[in-house]
């Protein structure tokens, strides 16, 4: 049965502010000390007055601009009513009909082989407050506990168009979105701590023989709290809907074919039905009378736009052009995050060789981080020090082999500075011997001792040079092997 998969994602991002969105309580993640970050505003006590956090608004505008959205000149806050123990007011302050931004897109790579890219539409991005956290007794015996530290922390909800056609595309979109958000510095996007949460709307268009397409009932899949879960859950759900349609023929809009909510269980890899979502009218949205509307000027938008950092997509293009790197290499560097890209660029500039800088950061550094189980931010060699080390290769003061040895020594915990590089070079005698006289002397001795190799070379066996280079290098530590090869060939040719 031919079908097209239709996926749209709703992503909730916690914005990195110090205080909550409508009160001065700390917005820090603090699960170990429940109910220490609350006040009358975020507890919903009578008489409390919420006031908008300017920084939260600005982080929202930043993100919306980076997602190519239109910023509305007039926006307001609405109350969305529902009852749940983690929502103390009985309503969530959100944005309904006049969100602060709409109609953007994010470009993702849809085919890694061809590098084909496609725009995923963004319907809207709006601000709202987060709810608290319910902790359930899994044995089901006692009461549930409610921690309201998180209640009222700022959230940005980003709603995509149903533009994704595979589970892999949905994952790619989420990864690119996360990368962009971390480049912007608007959120730490820590999925374990819940600062990036994802729900997916998914259904299928079944292709009929007469050419028209029949939609299966739309399902909202909740609780996708890792990239892996997104992919597994969507693949499962697509298969499930296909089989359900084959078995029942129920299409979207039929009796029993309305939109439903399912939760993803990471343990079983399956989605299971959840409580029926109250439809939008039942949330009884109305404008929040305690909060004032926000008007936005063109000047304000320009000032936020000007302060935006370089986006990952632009950085990829620039790195390819500026440092003559492959698309693949640049992808690896940029996808590691903004700090990693900054590091690469500083090293590349200092050593004057982008390709070399790229090899070291994508191979040596990533390997060492993995082996030592370090975060990039904990990596002990700073960009100026690595830049200095690699610069010595570019300037032919050090061989690549010696530089690797020094690199490993710098990681041994005794400090990593340029002074230390000098010390290691001195202690191990790694400086390239530029005294060609000394090298010539050794070459002469080596040639005299290896009549057979000389004869082989004369007979046209270039390989014979290799053995001789090794012997010379053993005598003159720190000689540049390329230089030795050239000098050897010159000397042999004169015999």
């Amino acid at each position: 049965m031919n079908h097209t998969v239709i996926i749209g994602l709703e992503v909730h991002v916690q914005l990195q502010t110090k205080s909550k969105i409508f009160c001065g309580c700390s917005a820090d993640f603090n699960p170990d000390h429940p109910n220490v970050q609350t006040c009358p505003v975020c507890l919903g006590l009578p008489g409390a007055l919420p006031v908008m956090n300017r920084e939260a608004f600005e982080l929202g505008v930043k993100t919306a601009l980076a997602l190519n959205c239109e910023i509305s000149s007039y926006t307001k806050w609405d109350r969305k009513h529902y009852y749940y123990p983690d929502l103390p007011k009985g309503f969530q302050i959100s944005q309904f009909d006049l969100p602060f931004s709409e109609d953007g897109f994010l470009e993702i790579e849809t085919n890694p082989e061809t590098g084909e890219r496609r725009r995923i539409g963004i319907i809207r991005a709006h601000l709202e407050e987060d709810a608290g956290k319910n902790l359930h007794d899994d044995a089901g015996r006692s009461d549930s506990q409610v921690d309201l530290n998180r209640a009222g922390t700022p959230l940005l909800e980003i709603v995509s168009q149903p533009d994704m056609r595979t589970a892999a595309e949905a994952t790619k979109y989420l990864q690119e979105l996360r990368l962009l958000l971390t480049y912007l510095g608007v959120s730490d996007c820590n999925m374990q701590e819940g600062s990036l949460r994802c729900d997916a709307n998914v259904n299928l268009h079944i292709h009929q023989d007469d050419g028209h397409k029949v939609p299966t009932p739309i399902v909202e899949v909740k609780n996708l709290n890792s990239f892996r879960n997104v992919e597994i859950a969507l693949e499962y759900e697509v298969q499930r809907q296909l089989e359900a349609f084959k078995a029942t023929g129920i299409k979207f809009g039929d009796k029993g074919g309305h939109k439903t909510t399912r939760g993803f269980d990471a343990g079983t890899g399956k989605t299971t039905p959840q409580r029926e979502k109250e439809d939008s009218a039942d949330y009884r949205y109305f404008p929040d009378p305690d909060l004032l509307p926000v008007t936005v000027t063109e000047d304000y938008i320009s000032s936020v736009r000007e302060a935006l950092p370089e986006f990952p997509a632009d950085r990829r293009k620039r790195f390819v052009a500026a440092y003559q790197l492959s698309d693949y290499d640049v992808q690896v560097i940029v996808d590691q995050g903004r700090g990693f890209g900054d590091y690469f660029e500083e090293v590349a500039k200092l050593c004057g060789d982008g390709k070399q800088a790229c090899n070291w950061v994508t191979q040596d550094i990533l390997r060492e981080l993995k082996e030592r189980k370090l975060e990039f931010s904990e990596f002990p060699i700073s960009a100026p020090v690595l830049g200095d080390l690699l610069g010595r290769i570019t300037k032919k003061k050090l061989t690549t082999k010696s530089a690797r040895e020094i690199f490993m020594d710098l990681l041994d915990g005794n400090g990593a500075s340029t002074a230390r590089i000098d010390e290691i070079i001195a202690a191990k005698g790694l400086a390239i011997v530029e005294d060609t006289g000394a090298i010539e002397k050794v070459i002469a001795t080596v040639i005299d001792k290896n009549a057979k190799a000389v004869a082989d070379f004369k007979a046209g066996k270039q390989a014979a040079v290799g053995a001789l280079i090794g012997q010379v290098m053993r005598e003159v530590k720190g000689a540049d092997p390329q230089k030795v090869r050239e000098m050897l060939i010159a000397a042999l040719s004169q015999r």
């Binding site: 001065g24 089901g140 008007t295």
Partner: protein
Amino acid sequence: MPADELTRDDVLKVAQLARLSLTDAEVGAYQAKLAQMLDYIQILHEVNTDDVEPMAHAVEVQNVFRRDETLPSLTPVEALANAPKTDGRYFLVPQILDH
């Protein structure tokens, strides 16, 4: 919706959304009162608003922000003071079944 079409089921639905349990007598009473309100809205509908700009908020003031600074929060004891049930650290609520 014209007020005379407001049914008992509508009243029960609105009550359920607000988590109110109503006696049969109350349902009847609210059916009448809500119908009156809807009648009143019907009157407002008669006003010609062709040249009136839509208003999203009743207050003229806009753009009131606070700086992103933290202020002292309540202590957990204060925060939990009004709760019907706590364990001293958390608010306690009856087992949530549908998680």
